[in-house]
């Protein structure tokens, strides 16, 4: 055996070794896509404009107080779209504008009409984009917390584009629960009831200013079906929010019903104590995402800094509510843009069938090559086997994910790898037919087929790379296996087959080649 062939064999052995090491044990090293192992793929959009609006709402309240303190009389302050409109006597307008300018650098004057006594403010573009971006990063953080506490192994939670969040939850079995957990805004508010007006009158005539009509759902205790809803007139002013929680836990009541017990932090406890002191005998509503959960009468001052949320919960629901309250509310609502959920049994079935089709298709090709090319077939089959080993090694090494279309990519790769060998062998046959010696026929066969193989594979590579760039999820998986497969088949057809031929031809005088 000449030195060059020896070297080449060593290179091949090294490649195989590296691939085998990186890919064993196979079932741990190769990540299965969600379509194969079951799980959920979700894309949400953070409706961050809503965060800007709710921040403007708070600021409007703030401005009211501020102008009152400055003793500037105004007739109306309200938010309209993304503006804060202040109506006041034209004479004091300048004074108001100066005061706001001094104390609120985040606001800019967008219009003034002194004759009508109206000035309008909006956030500066910088501040608006800060709120917008914060809403997204906060949503991301909150979702991480929630999913973390829910207990999913190896979840993916990442930002995509400007305002989208991609979530992948492998192995999830109860998709309904997962969606409820993720999608809940979980805005917990403590607000006083407006007991001066009648809710049923408000249904007909609309809520009085400063109040809002909200409902409490009623459930059948056994079937858990919604049986009705009770209207409440709830004051718009939010006394206390879930932001001041220090903990939330599931407890079981004396009636054997689960409820969520919440503890406030220091500031929250203080506010809660003041609130309950000032409002003994009145009713307070516990509102979660615009639904009233309960509206108890405050019997006495509560200083312990804890409260309870009752509802017709199952134990799971109570547990999930505790999780979302602990993890914090979302700064803006989420809109579900895309979902792909695959149950574990379907995934399992897909793998089984995919692998079966690879094995059967592969065996047919292997046998065919052996019968058709004899010695060449042996070499091609070895190259094909190596191809699969390299593919597995590369998938493991790059941490790529194997998806169902990815399996199809592997099958296609088998076809491609065979093609490269067929090209070479047909060339060698041709050269032998043209009267060349075996050795030079093999040489020129490889030589002439080389460029063809490169050209033919590069074009497929272009298509695969474009797919990788544009595809998502499963399609990307396909592009990855196809790309790796093309590179591997270039290596096996050009380098491995060639080496095996020169090894075979090496020491002896060959007068006939069984190809």
């Amino acid at each position: 055996m000449n030195k060059q062939t020896l070297w080449r064999l060593l290179v091949i052995a090294a490649v195989v070794l590296i691939c085998v090491i990186s890919a064993t044990p196979l079932n741990e090293k190769i990540h299965l896509g969600l379509d194969l192992q079951g799980g959920m793929h979700l894309i949400y959009e953070v409706d961050a404009d809503k965060a800007v609006i709710s921040s403007l709402d708070n600021l409007t309240e703030d401005l009211k107080k501020f102008l009152k303190n400055k003793k500037i009389g105004v007739s109306l302050i309200s938010r309209e779209a993304e503006n804060i409109v202040v109506r006041l006597n034209g004479a004091v307008a300048q004074k108001a504008m100066d005061a706001i300018d001094d104390d609120y650098p985040i606001l800019e004057l967008t219009s003034q009409d002194l004759s009508r006594g109206e000035i309008t403010y909006a956030y500066t573009p910088d501040h608006r984009s800060t709120i917008y971006k914060n809403a997204i990063s906060q949503a991301l953080e909150t979702l991480r917390n929630r999913i973390d506490q829910f207990g999913v192994s190896e979840p993916t939670i990442q930002k995509e584009g400007e305002n989208r969040i991609l979530i992948q939850l492998p192995g999830i079995k109860d998709r309904k629960r997962a969606i409820n957990l993720i999608g809940k805004t979980a805005r917990l508010e403590f607000r006083m009831l407006d007991e001066d007006s009648d809710p049923s009158a408000a249904i007909r005539k609309g809520a009085p200013p400063g109040a809002q009509l909200l409902y409490e759902k009623q459930f059948d205790p056994v079937t858990k079906k919604v049986t009705g809803k009770i209207p409440y007139l709830v004051k718009k002013k939010v006394e206390l929010t879930g932001g001041m929680l220090s903990n939330a836990e599931v407890r079981i009541s004396q009636m054997n019903m689960p409820y969520v017990s919440i503890d406030f932090n220091k500031e929250g406890s203080r506010i809660f104590a003041r609130l309950t002191t000032e409002n003994v005998g009145k009713r307070m509503a516990i509102v979660l995402d615009d639904s009233v959960y309960s509206a108890p009468v405050i019997r006495e001052r509560i200083t312990g800094g804890s409260a309870m949320i009752e509802g017709s919960f199952s134990h799971e629901e109570a547990r999930d509510l505790a999780i979302v309250l602990r993890a914090g509310s979302l700064p803006a609502p989420l809109i579900k843009l895309e979902e792909r959920s695959v149950g574990p049994s379907l995934g399992h079935d897909s793998i089984k069938r995919g692998i079966n089709s690879i094995i059967i298709g592969g065996i047919v090709v292997l046998v065919f090559m052996l019968v058709y090319y004899r010695l060449g077939g042996v070499i091609a089959d070895i190259a094909l086997g190596l191809n699969i080993v390299i593919l597995a090694g590369a998938l493991a090494y790059f941490g790529a994910t194997l998806t169902l279309p990815g399996i199809a990519g592997i099958i296609l790769t088998i076809g491609m790898a065979v093609d490269a060998n067929v090209l070479v062998f047909e060339r060698i046959r041709e050269e032998i037919r043209n009267g060349k010696t075996i050795r030079s026929a093999v040489d020129s066969g490889f030589g002439k087929a080389f460029l063809t193989i490169i050209d033919a594979n590069v074009t497929t590579l272009i298509a695969a790379l474009v797919l990788f760039q544009f595809g998502t999820g499963p399609v990307k998986g396909f592009a990855i296996t196809l790309t790796i497969g093309i590179v591997a088949s270039l290596f096996t057809a050009i380098f491995v087959s060639r080496t095996l031929f020169s090894w075979y031809l090496g020491g002896r005088r060959v007068t006939e080649l069984n190809i």
């Binding site: 959009e45 309904k176 149950g343 090209l423 063809t452 497929t460």
Partner: protein, 318 residues
């Protein structure tokens, strides 16, 4: 062993009129089918909507399941058996508000569990919102477009412009007919089908390039020979490889088609059609176009350069 005779002397180019007619007919059928179906039958990936795959432990009659779902009034939906009699695929059209897909899936599940209890499982739910659908559609078209451009550039660099153009025409032909076959069979276009189309493009090109490569070689070796003869020789010389490769690839794709399971069935179907058409087009579409292009450019030059008159006259007789 040998399947294809050593020296096939088939006059492929001589059949180009017949092939042009066949191709034109196939493309016309594809276009007609697309028009009759009102465009491609987009799956939820591109159209938005929801898809629910159900598996019953004890078989349930399709008509009964359909009745239960139709009582929900969740808008346009379709239901079909999926691979086995106890598995169903429910497709729900885009909800008008664009926000209700989830409740759609949930309501279907709830209504069925009222009747069947725990006798069924939801195996798969896919929901694509309208925004994402439009996004994905755009991305898919861009992907097809960019890969064609990339390929055109590569072939033009490695060969000549006429080869590049011929390859692209052949690819367009393959894509069109595969899309047509999908439309005829009333199959849905999904992301994976687009992936299959791109693979068909890559594969068909693979085939075309091998022939082009031989043409390039022969153009160098056999200077002065008629282009048509060179083209025919090249196709014949590579014929055995073309048939072997297509054959082995078809075998593996056929094994996915038959054994790969329902989820990947359409993907395999696209590959199957594409590989057959791709092999045909490499021989009967791409090469004749090179001839056509050369004739055309010669005719354009002919009045200015009388020396080439003779050869152009000869060509036009064929």
């Amino acid at each position: 062993m040998r399947i294809i005779a050593k020296d096939t002397g088939i006059n492929f180019l001589g059949q180009r009129r017949v092939c042009a007619m066949i191709s034109a007919a196939l493309i016309m059928i594809s276009v007609a089918s697309l028009i009759l179906h009102g465009g491609p039958n987009y799956g939820i990936d591109f159209r938005g909507g929801a898809l629910i795959q159900l598996k019953f432990i004890k078989a349930a009659p399709l008509s009964e399941v359909r009745k239960i779902i139709s009582r929900l009034k969740i808008g346009d939906f379709s239901i079909q058996e999926f691979g086995a009699p106890e598995e169903f695929l429910v497709r729900v059209q885009q909800a008008p508000s664009g926000k209700d897909e989830d409740t759609q899936a949930q309501r279907v599940e709830a209504a069925l569990s009222e009747v069947y209890g725990k006798n069924f499982i939801v195996e798969r739910v896919e929901m694509v919102g309208p925004k994402v659908g439009a996004d994905l559609r755009e991305k898919a078209f861009l992907a097809l477009f960019y890969s064609l451009v990339g390929i055109l550039i590569y072939i033009t660099l490695r060969f000549e412009l006429r080869f590049g153009v011929a390859a692209i025409v052949a690819l367009g032909h393959d894509t069109m007919i595969t899309v047509g076959a999908f439309s005829l069979m009333d199959k849905e276009f999904t992301l994976t089908v687009i992936a299959a189309l791109l693979t068909v493009i890559g594969y068909s090109l693979n085939d075309t390039i091998v022939i082009f490569d031989r043409i390039r070689e022969n153009l160098r070796l056999k200077r002065g020979q008629q282009l048509e003869v060179i083209l025919n020789t090249s196709i014949n010389q590579t014929l055995s490889r073309t048939i072997l490769t297509s054959g082995t690839t078809l075998v593996v794709v056929l094994s996915i088609f038959v054994l790969g399971g329902e989820v990947i069935h359409d993907f395999a179907f696209a590959l199957l059609v594409g590989i057959v058409i791709g092999t045909y087009s490499s021989i009967f579409v791409a090469s004749p176009i090179i001839l056509l292009w050369s004739d055309w450019s010669k005719r354009k030059i002919a009045p200015k350069a009388p020396s080439s008159k003779k050869s152009s006259k000869k060509k036009s007789k064929i």
